[in-house]
């Protein structure tokens, strides 16, 4: 028993080191000069700290703007997903008959469609409406790709709810709109926040739609900005590491503040998915 425990602890410490070390490596490299990055061991702290890289990256590479873009696009997509998916789930879970059943299956099919296969037609579609470099294009596309899974989660939750609430609301003469906003949405808050967290996480970290549809620098999301910065300058490493730190810092902060919600949300989402 005791020996088993030590083995498990060793494994736990080993894996924690593997998950945290890349962050440490990036952090210390971001304050090193090129000479130190190439000269001293990757494990050693620098002799001099260079924080000016951070300022330069923020100003030169426009990382501040990219952070704003990422947050704005992700928040709006998340809002759209939550709103549209709640509305749709409400009908799909509550209405009886054949049509809602068929519509539900039709939407759920979307979970299984690999997004890669839609890329080329989407490019054509976006080009035909001049939708490049526009917030609304990318927001709507992100939202659409997360709607099927959101509907799956929310309608599953609504189906599990007690039917008596329906009846009392209906006896009071409550119409569907009021019913949705004053009964269904408040009761569904747990699953709605799960859906919101998942959507925000995935849209903030998304790369490929951004690569295709955001070509102007002012529109870049944080991932794109970081990637193009690395592509442009392979000479000086310090600023590149600083850019990576700036990109991951918001997500780490949000995660540390809300970790119970994030992990809890993913476990309901993942297990049911």
């Amino acid at each position: 028993m005791k020996k088993k425990n030590i083995v498990i602890y060793l494994f736990a410490v080993f894996w924690a080191a593997i998950t945290l070390y890349p962050l440490y490596f990036t952090l210390i490299s971001s304050v090193k000069t090129n000479n130190e990055i190439f000269g001293i061991s990757a494990f050693k702290l620098p002799t001099e700290y260079h924080f000016d890289y951070y300022v330069r990256v923020f100003v030169e590479a426009g990382l501040g703007r990219a952070l704003f873009n990422s947050f704005f696009i992700s928040s709006m997509s998340t809002f759209l997903v939550v709103l549209l998916a709640s509305m749709a789930s409400f009908y799909l879970a509550k209405a009886n008959g054949k049509i809602p059943g068929i519509l539900y299956l039709y939407v759920i099919l979307g979970i299984m469609i690999p997004f890669n296969s839609t890329l080329i037609p989407l490019v054509k579609l976006v080009a035909s409406v001049n939708g490049y470099n526009s917030y609304s294009t990318i927001i709507v596309i992100y939202a659409t790709f997360h709607i099927p899974f959101a509907i799956f989660l929310i309608s599953g939750y609504i189906r599990g709810l007690n039917k008596e609430i329906d009846e009392s609301a209906l006896v009071d003469g409550c119409g569907p709109v009021r019913y949705l906003f004053s009964f269904v949405i408040p009761i569904c808050m747990p699953i709605i926040s799960t859906t919101a967290i998942l959507t925000f996480l995935f849209t903030y970290n998304e790369l490929i739609f951004a690569v295709l549809f955001l070509t102007k620098k002012e529109m870049y999301t944080i991932s794109l900005s970081m990637l193009s910065f690395v592509g442009e300058r392979s000479v000086e490493m310090g600023p590149i590491f600083a850019a990576i730190v700036i990109a991951i810092l918001p997500m780490i902060t949000v995660y540390l503040l809300m970790q119970e919600k994030v992990i809890g949300g993913l476990s309901t989402g993942a297990v049911k998915g």
């Binding site: 070390y21 979307g110 690999p114 890329l119 329906d166 119409g175 490929i208 990576i244 297990v271």
Partner: protein, 291 residues
């Protein structure tokens, strides 16, 4: 359940989601299938030339396509041989009664919340042969002989990417396994303990059989996920060196947006679509049959 007028309002609730979904997801997916039978450069004014299965023949004759499939298989194999045991062990760590449980849980899950671009870049630099930490570590341990250009060597780069991908997803799958672990009733273990079963016997004879459902979910996600791998390859190698790390999705992207071979790219897209749907349906069916 609602009155007649109210029912129409209810249907109005579904429409916005349905329209977006149909126009931006279903239509593009079907259109990609349609386009795979034509020669066309995406410019509206140019003519479309019907070529039948030409692009599919081209795809099947392309050695890189077969390599991309092989690589997708490496991702699947990596999921079962590396990702699954690690995630399961991590789940055991975070569900047990241990000190520092919260710290471990936070650390193990960390990679999941990081932008994949940042993850890809961090690892690219850690694996860098000139200043990366991995080679430095091997040298410190006296294993300098194992030091390597991890991403530059065409024979090994795909394994490097598979392992980094496992690093990203271990935390997520830990959560899936942890959810399965906590749903097993505690008294079964107590009974087993009274019968004199030790910890590893308990894991093999109670935990794993009781988690069949979770292993199924893992398998579905791992296999369908492996077919869709893209970001990590795009950031770390772009499919290189020598197209050795190309996966179906990166091949599609490169053919379409680097070489303008839209027809070939669409046939690869159709292949991914059909394979993805078929595998999901079969696995779902199997999972239901056993349940």
């Amino acid at each position: 359940m609602f009155a007649h007028r109210a029912k129409w309002i209810g249907i109005g609730f579904v429409f916005p989601a349905m329209i977006l979904y149909t126009v931006l997801l279903i239509y593009p997916a079907l259109y990609a299938v349609y386009m795979s039978f034509f020669n066309w450069n995406l410019i509206a004014s140019s003519t479309m030339e019907f070529v039948g299965f030409h692009h599919y023949v081209q795809m099947l004759e392309d050695a890189t396509f077969w390599r991309s499939l092989t690589n997708a298989c490496w991702f699947i194999l990596g999921s079962f041989l590396v990702l699954m045991p690690i995630s399961f062990a991590l789940a055991l760590v975070v569900t047990g009664d241990r000190k520092f449980k919260r710290f471990f849980k936070t650390a193990f899950f960390m990679p999941v919340v990081l932008p994949i671009t940042a993850v890809g870049l961090m690892w690219t630099f850690i694996l860098n042969p000139n200043f990366g930490a991995l080679n430095a570590l091997l040298e410190t341990l006296g294993l300098g002989g194992l030091a390597h250009d991890w991403l530059g060597d065409p024979d090994r780069s795909i394994f490097t990417v598979v392992l980094v991908n496992a690093w990203v997803f271990a935390g997520l799958n830990m959560v899936i396994f942890a959810a399965g672990l906590v749903s097993i009733p505690k008294d079964i273990y107590q009974a087993a303990e009274i019968d004199g079963a030790n910890r590893s016997q308990q894991i093999w004879q109670i935990t794993i059989p009781m988690m069949k459902e979770t292993f199924k979910i893992f398998s579905i996600l791992a296999i369908t996920g492996s077919l869709k791998v893209f970001d990590i390859v795009y950031v770390m190698t772009g499919g290189g060196p020598n197209q050795k790390t190309e996966v179906p999705a990166s091949l599609l992207f490169n053919q379409a947006f680097k070489y303008n071979n839209f027809g070939l790219a669409n046939s690869i897209g159709t292949f991914i679509l059909v394979a993805g749907l078929t595998i999901s349906l079969i696995l779902n069916r199997l999972a239901k049959q056993d349940a």
